[in-house]
Subunit: 97 residues, 2 copies
Amino acid sequence: MTAVEPRFDAVVHAPPRLQICGLLAVVDTMEFAAVRDAVSVSDSVLSKHVKQLEEAGYVQVRKSTIASRQRTSLALTKAGRAAFGAHVAELRRIAGL
Amino acid sequence: MTAVEPRFDAVVHAPPRLQICGLLAVVDTMEFAAVRDAVSVSDSVLSKHVKQLEEAGYVQVRKSTIASRQRTSLALTKAGRAAFGAHVAELRRIAGL
DNA sequence: GCCACTCTTTCCATCATGGAAAGCAGAGGG
DNA sequence: CCCTCTGCTTTCCATGATGGAAAGAGTGGC
C-alpha cells in the first residue's frame, strides 16, 4: 500500500526545477519574482525552467495586471503535484528510507 | 541541531550516481556487476560514473582476483557516506519534509 | 601464444544548462 | 503620441554532462 507510486521524473529532478516544485508544493501559489529570488537564478533561467515545467503540464502560469503591475504567479497543477510526489517517493526509495 | 548539514552535491545528484550511492549506503560493499545490473547501465557507463565518484573521494574501488576471476567491489568511503547523507538531507529539505 | 572474462578508455554525437543581451507587451509620464 | 520602466521571454552562444559502441588492457586458463 504505497501512498504514491515512486517514479523518477527527469523534468522534476533537475536541481532548479526540484527547488521550484518544492516551493510550490508548499505554498500553492508563488510569484515569479519570489521564486526567482528563492531559487537564486536569473530571470531568463527561471523563465526557461518554468517553461519546461509548464510544457510538461506541471505548472500553471497565470498572468495578471494588478495595481498597474504585471504579475505572474506560478502554481503546481494536479499533475505537477502528482509528479513531484512520485519523484520524492522515488528519491526516498533510492535513499533507502 | 541538525543531524547532518543539508548540502546539495551535484556529483551525487545525477540519477545513476544517486542510485549507486543509495545501493552502497545500504550494503556497504557491492560488486561491479551487481551494481551495473541494479542500476541498469552498461559497463562503460557504470565505469565512468564510478570513476567520478572515486575521483570525488566518495567511493573506494577494490580489485581482487577470486577463483581466478577478476572482481571489483565498490564501497562508499566515509566522505561518500557523509556526502550522500548531506545530499539526502538537502533533498528532504527541498521536498519539505 | 591464444582465448575468455572484466572492466576501462576513447571516440562521437546529442542534449541540458547558464549567462548576456536583445525583444516584447502593458502602464504611466511628459 | 512618444519614451521609459517594469517584468518577463526568447535568442545566441559556449560549455559541460551523458550515453552507446567499439577498441583496449590486465589476469588467469588452455
